[in-house]
Amino acid sequence: MHGFRRDKKEEEDGSGSHSLLHLDKSSVLQEARATFNGTPVVARKCSHVLTKILMVLNQGEAIGKEEATETFFAITKLFQSRDQAVRRLVYVCIKDMASISNDVIIVTSSLTKDMTGKEDEWRAPAIRALCRITDAQMLQSIERLMKQAMVDKTPQVASAALTSSVHVARTNPEVVRRWLNEATEAASSSGEGLVQYHAIGLLYTARKHDKLAVRKLVSKHARIANRSSLACCLLIRIAAKALEEDDSVPNSGEMMDFIEGCLRHKSEMVIYEAARSLVGLNATNPKELAPAVSVLQLFCSSPKPTLRLAAVRTLSAAAAIQPAAVSACNLDLENLMSDGNRSVATLAMSTLLKTGGESSVERLVKQISSFMADIGDELKVEVVRAVRSLCEKFPRKASTLSATLAQMLRDEGGVEYKSALVDALIAVLHDDNDARNAALSHLCEFIEDCEHTSLATRVLHVLGREGPKTARPAAFIRYIYNRVILEAAAVRAAAVTALAQFGAHCPQLLPSILVLLRRCALDQDDEVRDRATLYIAIFQSEDQSLISSFISGEMHYSVTALEKSLKNYLKTSCSEEFDMKTVPIATPLEQGITSGSAPGSAPIEPVVARAKATVKEDPLEKVPQLAKYSPVFKSSGPLALTEALTEYTVSCVKHVTGSHVVLQFTCENTLTDQLLEDVWVQVEGDLEIVEIVNIDELKCGVQQSCYTVVELPDVDNLSSTFTLACTLKFKVRDCDPTTGEVDDGSYDDDYVLEDIEITVADHIQKVLKADWAAAWEELGPQNELEDTFALSAMNTLQEAVKQIHSFLGMQACERSDNVPEGRSAHTLLLAGVFRGGHAVLVRSRLALSNGVTMNLSVRSTDPRVSNLITQSVG
C-alpha cells in the first residue's frame, strides 16, 4: 500500500521522463566515458547520454577542467558515428563545453570536414561549433572556409556562417573585417531572406563605429528593391539609430526618405517598423509624423490583435511627444477602447487622454471609471499618470480630474497604485490654487481610511504644509487630530508635526492647537510625546525666530551629511559648540526624495530616505589624503577638458569645501601602446596649489582620477571668477599593444587641457524656500544691495531667466523660473546658501525693452556676500 502510494506521487510530479530528472553529475560523466569509448558505439544509447550531459551542463553545475576535458575527448570519439541525431547532439555538446574544457581545438579538422562535406544537415551546425571553439590564433586557418560558407548556395549554411561571424566579430573584429566582401555578396543575393538579414546584421556589426560606412550601407541596400522583410526591418533600425545619434549628417535626408518609403512596403512588419522608427526619432515635427500616424491608424482597425497592440502602443508613445499629430486617430482610438483585449483598451485610453482636447476630457474620464476595475495595477498606474499630465495641461479641468482621482482613491488597489494617485493629487494642489481645496479635502478623506503608513504620513506632511495657506485651515484640524486618536505611532507622530505647522502659521488657531498638543503629550509612544512636548515648549517661548527655524521653516541640511558631521563631532572633545554651518546643504533634488519625511514626519520613513541618500557618498572620503578637506559643500557636474576621442580624455569635477577647491580630474588613456605613470594635472592661475594626488599608473582604457587641491582666499579677497590653466603631466612608457609588455625607459610629457573657471555658482548651493517672501522679510534690509543692469545680448525674458539662473547657480523659488508667455516683465526669485553657511536671496526684476533690463536686489546674512554677487553679475 505504502509503495503504491509513493509511485502515484511520483507520477503526479510529472516525472514521466525519469531518466532526465535528478541527474548526478559524476555518474553521468562516468556513463558518458563508458558509452562513448565502446566499439562499436550504439547510436541510440549515445544520444541519450549526450542529452543527459547537456542537461547537467544547463543545470549550471560546475564541472572541473579535468573532468570536462576527459568527457570532451570521449565525445569527440562519436565522430565515428554517422547517425544524424548523435552527430547533431555532438555539435551542441562541443559548443557548450568549448569554454570549460581544454584542447577543444582538437575537433577543428573534424568540423571543417563536416562543414565542407556532402551532408547538408551537418554543415550549418558544424560551422557554429567551429566558430565557438576557434580562438584568435586559429582563426586564420578557418578564414577561407568561412568566406566560402558565407556565399554558399544553401541558405542554412550561409546563415550559420554569417551569424557565427557576428559572434566572432565581438572578440576579433579585425579578422572579420576581412570577410566583409563575402558578406556584402551574401547581402545582395536575391535568394533566401534570412541570409540577407544575417548578412546585413554582420556588415553593420563590423562597421557600426564608422558613421560614414553605416550611411553607405543603408543607402546601398535601400536601393535594392527585392529585399526580404526582415532585412528591411533591420535596415530601418540601423538608419533610425544613425539618425538618432547624429541628425546633422549631410545625407540624412536620404535615410529619412528610405524610412518613409518603407511605409509603403507590402509587408506589415516593415510598415510597422518604419512607423515606429519615425515616432522614435525625437526630432520629428508633426508634418513628418503624419504619414507614420496614418499607417498606424490603419493598423488600429486590423483584425490581428498583435498589430492593434503594436499600433496603439506606438501611438501612445507618439502622443507623449506630439499629441497634435496623433489626434487624427482619436476616432479609431475610441473604438479600440471597447477592444476585447484589456491592454489594447487601456493603451488607447491613455493615448486619448494625452491627445484629447479640453472638451472631451470629461467624457473620457467618465469612461475611465467604467473599466478601471478590470485592469491590473500597472495599467492603472499608467492611466493615473495620463490623468496627471492632463491636469497640468488643462488647469481649468483640474477640479473635475481631481474628483476622478479621488474616486479612484476609494477603489481597491496596491500601494504603488495608491501612491501614484497621491502623487497626482499632490501635483494638482501644487499647480493650481483653485483645485487645492478640493484636492486637500480628497486627501483628508483618503487618510481617514488608509492602511499604508507611508502614504498616510506623506499626506499628513502635505496637509501640514498646504493646509494653513487655505482660507479655512481650521477645517483640516479635525482630520489630523483623528489620526492622533486612531492610528499607529508613526502616523500619530506625523499628525503631531502637522498640527504644529498649523499652530505656527495660523496664530488665531494657536490656543486650540496647544490644547491638542497637550493631549498628545500624554501619548504612550515616545516619539509622539517628544514631538508634542518640543512643540509646546517652542510655542510657549513665543520667540518668532525659534518658531520659524524649528517648525515653519524647512531644513535644508542633507540628513546623511548631518549625521556624519555629528558623528565626527562626537569623536572630538566636544569642547566647542557644534557649528551647523559646517553641515553641507542638501540640493533640492535630494530633498525631493526626502520631502515626504524631511521635517521628521515619522520615525520609520527617514530610514528609507537615508538608505537612498547614502548612495551619494562623499567623494573625498574615499581618498585618504583628501579626507581632511571633507565635507564637500558643493560638487559641480563633470566638465570635459578635452575633445571627445582624443589621445587622452580628461574631465573635471569641482568639489568646493569650506576653504578649498578639490579638483577631481578623471583621466582615460586611449592609446593602446602607452602606459602612463605619475599622472597629475598642473593648474596655473590666481590660486595656489596646496596638494596633489597623482595616479601611479594609468593603463589604456581604464578611468582613474587624480586630484589637485587649491586654496580659496577668504570672502574679502574673493573675486567673482578664477581662471585656471590646466596641463596634464605624466611619464610615458611605451608598451606593446598585443602582449602588454612594457619598455623600461620612460620620458616626461604633457598635454594641454582646456581652462577651468571657478565661478560664483560654485560657491552657492541651491536651497528651495517654500515661502520666499517670508524668508526675504526675515533676512531684513540691512545687507541689501541693489543694482540695475542692461542685458543687451538677450532677446527674450525666458532666455535671460535661464542665463541668470545658471550663472548664479541658485534655486528658483515659487516657480519663478517659468516666464508666462507674452509678458514684458517678470520677477525671478532665487535662494541659496553661500559657502560657509550664509543664506543668500536674490530678487531679479526683468523688463523687456531693447534687450532686457534687470534690477537685481541681493539680501544675505553677510554683507560681503551680497557685494560679491552684485559684482559678479556686473
Binding site: 570519439k77 581545438i105 577543428t108 573534424s110 571543417t112
Partner: protein, 193 residues
C-alpha cells in the same frame, strides 16, 4: 549488439567494426594514406594539414575500420593518448625520406609503446615507411633499424614500404593489420570467457 547484427556478421554480410589510431610526425602522409584507402568515389584531391583529428571510415575484406587520423604537428601530439584507450590497432606512418627527424619519430613511438593504455595490450602496430618513391627514401629495413623495431617484444608489428599517392604497398599492410586485429579480438573474446 543486437541479435540481427550478430547474425549478419556471422553470415558475412556485415563486417566487424574496429577502431584504429593513425599517428606519425607531421607531413608523413597519414591523411593521404587514409584518403587512398577510402572508396574511389569519396576521395578528395586537396589534402591540408590536419588540426586535431579526423575520423575516416574504410574497409578491408573482412573488417570495417574507424580510423582516427591524428594531427602530427608538435602541439597536438600529446593529444594522441586520448584515443589509445579503446583502439584495436595502430598505424604508425614514417616519412622515410626524412632521415633527420627519425629520432623524433623514435621518441614518439617509444612514448606510444610505453603508454599505460597500450603497454599491457597486444595491440598490433603497422608501420608504413611512406614516400618510398622519393629519391632519398630509406628502405623499410633501414627504417626499422633506425627506429629499433626489433626491441618491440610485446606487440605484433609489421613494416612495409608504401607510396600513398599511388597506393602501392597499402593493401599489403592493411591485410596484415586486419588479420592481426581479428586474432587480437578473438583472443580478447576467449579471455573474457
Amino acid at each position: 549488439m543486437g541479435i540481427f547484427s550478430k547474425l549478419a556478421e556471422w553470415l558475412g554480410v556485415k563486417r566487424k567494426e574496429c577502431n584504429i589510431v593513425v599517428v606519425g610526425l607531421d607531413n608523413s602522409g597519414k591523411t593521404t594514406i587514409l584518403n587512398k584507402l577510402k572508396p574511389d568515389d569519396s576521395q578528395t584531391s586537396d589534402i591540408v594539414p590536419t588540426i586535431g583529428f579526423n575520423v575516416e571510415n574504410f574497409s578491408s575484406k573482412s573488417l570495417q575500420f574507424n580510423a582516427f587520423d591524428m594531427s602530427g604537428q608538435g602541439r597536438y601530439r600529446n593529444l594522441w593518448e586520448h584515443y589509445y584507450k579503446d583502439c584495436q590497432g595502430v598505424i604508425f606512418v614514417i616519412d622515410s625520406a626524412d632521415k633527420l627527424r627519425m629520432p623524433v619519430a623514435k621518441d614518439e613511438l617509444d612514448q606510444l609503446i610505453q603508454h599505460p593504455d597500450l603497454v599491457s595490450k597486444r595491440v598490433p602496430v603497422l608501420f608504413f615507411a611512406n614516400k618510398m618513391d622519393h629519391r632519398d627514401a630509406l628502405s623499410s629495413v633501414k627504417c626499422s633499424t633506425l627506429l629499433k623495431l626489433d626491441e618491440i617484444s610485446n606487440k605484433p608489428w609489421h613494416i612495409c614500404a608504401s607510396n600513398a599517392i599511388t597506393g602501392e604497398g597499402l593493401d599489403e599492410g592493411v591485410n596484415w593489420l586486419s588479420d592481426q586485429i581479428k586474432s587480437y579480438l578473438r583472443d580478447l573474446e576467449r579471455r573474457r570467457r
